[in-house]
Symmetry: C2
C-alpha cells in the first residue's frame, strides 16, 4: 500500500474547484498537474493548489497533454457531462486510474468502451457518486443489510432540484446543462439516487437491471423562467427546450424489484432526492424523513392507522449510523462539501489507488448507472417503449464476490472493515 | 327538478352497509329495494333501511329481479369490483340511472358497453369516486383553477394502503380483493387519486389520456403476512400471488402532462394516496402535506433552499377551501364516512338524478378511469409495453362544454354555482 498518491485534476469549474479543495484535504494526496480548457479556470486550479497545499502544480489546457505525464497514479475528472466517458477511457489507456464526476452517458457504446478500457488495462474507473456516502443513505444501507426492511421490493429516488437559473444561464456561467436541456430528452442525471439504490439492491452482484421505460412531460419551466427573469427580448425567450420538465423512469431488476426515478430540475420546488426504500417489513421515505418498520414503529390497533416515525427525530439515524460515519463523526467532521460526502467519496477513490484494489464503485457500476441516461432517451424517443439494460459484467454479476473490504466498501456492512463493537 | 328520488341499492357488504346509511341521509332519498346475493347481507340491508329511514324495503337476492321494478329512478351499486360494469350496463338498459362504487375494469369492451348503454338510453353512469370530494382535493382543485400552480405539468397519486389482512382473509370476510390479487397483475385500484387528477387535468374536456405503461414488482407481501399470521399449514401459505406488491403506472396526456400512479396494498406502510400536483409555479405533495408556491411561499435567497410550507398548518386549506366545502362546513359537518366525502359524492349523484342532468363524473369519466386497470394489466403482461388509452368520447373531448353547473360540479370553480363572495 502506498502512503501517498499523485493525482492529476481535470475540469476546474465551480464544482471542480470545490472538489479539488476536497481532494487536497485527503490524506497523502498530491496534485502536481491541473487542467482546464479555459485558461482562467486552469489558473484558478493552480491557485487553489498553491493556497491549499503550498506547492505549484503544472497547468494544462489540453487534458491529453496532462495524460502524457508518467508521474500520475490517477486522474480526477470534473469536466462537463458529455466528456466524462471519453476522458475516463483516455486516462485508463494512458495507464492511470480515474475517477469521474457524476452524469449520464450519451450512448451505450461509450459505456462499453469504459468497461473494455478498464478490463484491458487493469485500471479503475470510479464514478464519484457522493450520495452513496451521505450519512442517511449509509445508515439506511446499514439497516437494509441488517434486514430491518425485510426483503426489498421497491425503491424510488430522483434528482428534484430547481436549477432553472443555472440551466438558463448556461452560456453566461459556462455550464453544460443548458445545451443538454436544449437538445436532449430523458433522465439526464440519474445517479444521485440510483447509486445508493443500486448498492441496496446488489446490482452487478447477484442482481442486475434488465429493462427500463421512461416518460417525459412537456417542457414549460425554463421558457417561463427565462421570460419572467430575462425578458421577452432575450434570445432564448422563445426557445423550445427538448427536455421535459419531469421525466419518470421505471426500471425492472432481475430479481423482481422495481425502481422509479424522477428527474425534475426545471420547475420551482424545494430540493429532494425522493429516496424511498420499501420491503416486506417496512418503508422509508425521504420526503418527510419518515419511516415505518413493522413491529418496531409505534403501532395502532387498526390496520389503516399505521403511523410514520421520524427518521431523525425518533433516533433511527443515530441508532443505525453506518460504522464509517460513526468513525467519521468521532474523528471530528471534516468541514467539507455537501455535509462530508464529497470528502468521503474522494477518500474512497484515494484509498483504492493507494491499496491498488478496485474501488467500491467500479467500472461496471459506473457504466450501468451512466447508461440509464441514454437508455432513457431511447425509451422517450420511442414513445415509452421498454429498452433492455446491458449486462456490463457479461454474466459475472451472477456470482461475483465483493472486492477487498476497505473501510469505504459499499457491498455490505462487514466485520472485515469494522469490529463487532463498531457495528453495534 | 324532483324533490325526491327512489333508488335501489345493490351490494350490502361492509362498504355497502356504510354507503347505504350515507345514502339514506341524503335529502329526498327513498330506498324501496335492497339486494345482495348473500341472504344475510340482503337482510342486513333491510334492517339498515328500517333503522335509519323507518320503512321496510323489498329484499332481493338477484339484482336482475330488482331491476324489473318500474318505481326506481336510479341504482346505487356497491358489489364486488368485477361486477360493477355489468350491473351498471344492466341498470341503464333497464331504464335506471346508476352509480357504482370504485374499482377497475376487466376489459376495455365492458367500458365501451357502459358508454353505449348510457348514450343509447340517456341514463347516467357515475363512478362514486369519493376522493374527488375530499376536502383537501377540492381545495387543491380550487387552487389549480385559480392558477396558483401555473400550468400543470406533472401529477402523481396512488392507492398505498396496507390491506394484507383484508386481502388474505378474503374468503373468511367475503371480500373479492383476494381473488383479484391471486389472479391479476396490474393497477387494480386506480381511481382514488386518478379521479381528482383527471378533474385537475381536464380529462375528457380539452385533454385526454393517450397512452400508459405499467411495471409490477415481485409479489412477496401477502405470502409473508400469511405465513406469519396464519401459519405454514394454512392452505394459502405457499400460494404464488400474481399481483406485484408495488405496481407503478405512467400515463401520458394529449397536452403533454404526465401522471404517475402507484398501487401498493400488500406491504406494511401507513396509508397515503401520495397526491402530487406540479406546475410552472409550484408543487403540492400529500406526503408531508407540503406545498411550495413561487412568490407566495416563504423564500430564501439561495435557489437551492426553497422551503416547504405546511398545507394545513400554514393556512392553505382554510384560505382556499372549495366553496362546496365552505358551505358544507358552515351548514355543520355531516358525521359521515371518510370525513364527509362519501356523503358528498352520493349527494352529487342524488342531485343529478333529481335535476335530470348528467352527473359531475359521467360515463366517459367512469369508463376512462376504470379502463386504466385492464390497460395496466396488458402493459405488465407485455413487459411494460406502452398501450393506447381509448377515447371514450369518440372525439368530443376536444370541445365539450361543462354540464349544467350544479353545486357538485367538478369542471371548474364557477360563478354559476357560487356567488363571488363565496368564491373569495
Amino acid at each position: 500500500m502506498k502512503n501517498s498518491v499523485n493525482l492529476g485534476f481535470i475540469g476546474i469549474s465551480g464544482r471542480g474547484s470545490g472538489m479539488l479543495k476536497e481532494l487536497l484535504s485527503c490524506d497523502g494526496v498530491k496534485v502536481p498537474a491541473v487542467c482546464d480548457k479555459y485558461e482562467d479556470r486552469a489558473l484558478n486550479g493552480k491557485k487553489i493548489v498553491e493556497e491549499n497545499a503550498g506547492y505549484t502544480p503544472d497547468v494544462y489546457l489540453d487534458y491529453k497533454e496532462l495524460l502524457k505525464r508518467d508521474d500520475l497514479d490517477g486522474i480526477v475528472c470534473c469536466t462537463t457531462w458529455i466528456t466524462h466517458a471519453r476522458i475516463a477511457i483516455d486516462s485508463m489507456r494512458a495507464g492511470k486510474h480515474v475517477a469521474i464526476e457524476v452524469g449520464g452517458a450519451s450512448d451505450i457504446e461509450e459505456c462499453w468502451e469504459m468497461v473494455r478500457a478498464s478490463e484491458e488495462t487493469g485500471k479503475f474507473c470510479m464514478l464519484l457518486e457522493n450520495c452513496c456516502y451521505n450519512r442517511s443513505e449509509m445508515a439506511l444501507f446499514n439497516m437494509v443489510k441488517q434486514g430491518l426492511f425485510g426483503e426489498i421490493v421497491h425503491m424510488q429516488g430522483g434528482y428534484q432540484h430547481d436549477l432553472r437559473d443555472e440551466i438558463s444561464l448556461g452560456r453566461e456561467n459556462r455550464h453544460g446543462r443548458l445545451y443538454n436541456f436544449q437538445m436532449r430528452n430523458g433522465e439526464l442525471y440519474p445517479t444521485h439516487q440510483l447509486g445508493p439504490i443500486s448498492k441496496v439492491l446488489g446490482i452487478n452482484r447477484g442482481n442486475r437491471y434488465i429493462s427500463l421505460v421512461s416518460m417525459a412531460s412537456k417542457a414549460r419551466g425554463l421558457h417561463e423562467w427565462i421570460v419572467n427573469n430575462k425578458g421577452e427580448d432575450y434570445d432564448l425567450a422563445n426557445y423550445k427546450f427538448n427536455e421535459g420538465d419531469v421525466v419518470t423512469t421505471m426500471i425492472k431488476c432481475a430479481n423482481g424489484e422495481t425502481v422509479v426515478l424522477n428527474h425534475d430540475c426545471s420547475l420551482p420546488r424545494p430540493y429532494s432526492r425522493g429516496y424511498r426504500i420499501q420491503g416486506t417489513k417496512g418503508i422509508y421515505m425521504e420526503d418527510g424523513e419518515t419511516i415505518y418498520l413493522e413491529g418496531i414503529s409505534k403501532e395502532n390497533k387498526e390496520h389503516w392507522t399505521h403511523t410514520w416515525e421520524e427518521f431523525y427525530d425518533d433516533g433511527y439515524i443515530d441508532k443505525y449510523d453506518h460504522p464509517l460515519w460513526k468513525k467519521y463523526r468521532q474523528d471530528g467532521i471534516h468541514a467539507g462539501g455537501h455535509g462530508g460526502m464529497d470528502f468521503l467519496v474522494l477518500s474512497a477513490f484515494v484509498e483504492s489507488v493507494k491499496v491498488g484494489s478496485q474501488p467500491p464503485i467500479d467500472v461496471y457500476d459506473t457504466a450501468t448507472w451512466m447508461a440509464i441516461t441514454c437508455l432513457s432517451e431511447q425509451s422517450v424517443a420511442m414513445g415509452s417503449l421498454p429498452v433492455p439494460v446491458p449486462d456490463f459484467t457479461k454474466g459475472m454479476w451472477i456470482d461475483r464476490e465483493p472486492y477487498r473490504r476497505g473501510q469505504f466498501c459499499l457491498e455490505e456492512v462487514c466485520t472485515d472493515c469494522f469490529s463487532k463493537e463498531e457495528l453495534e
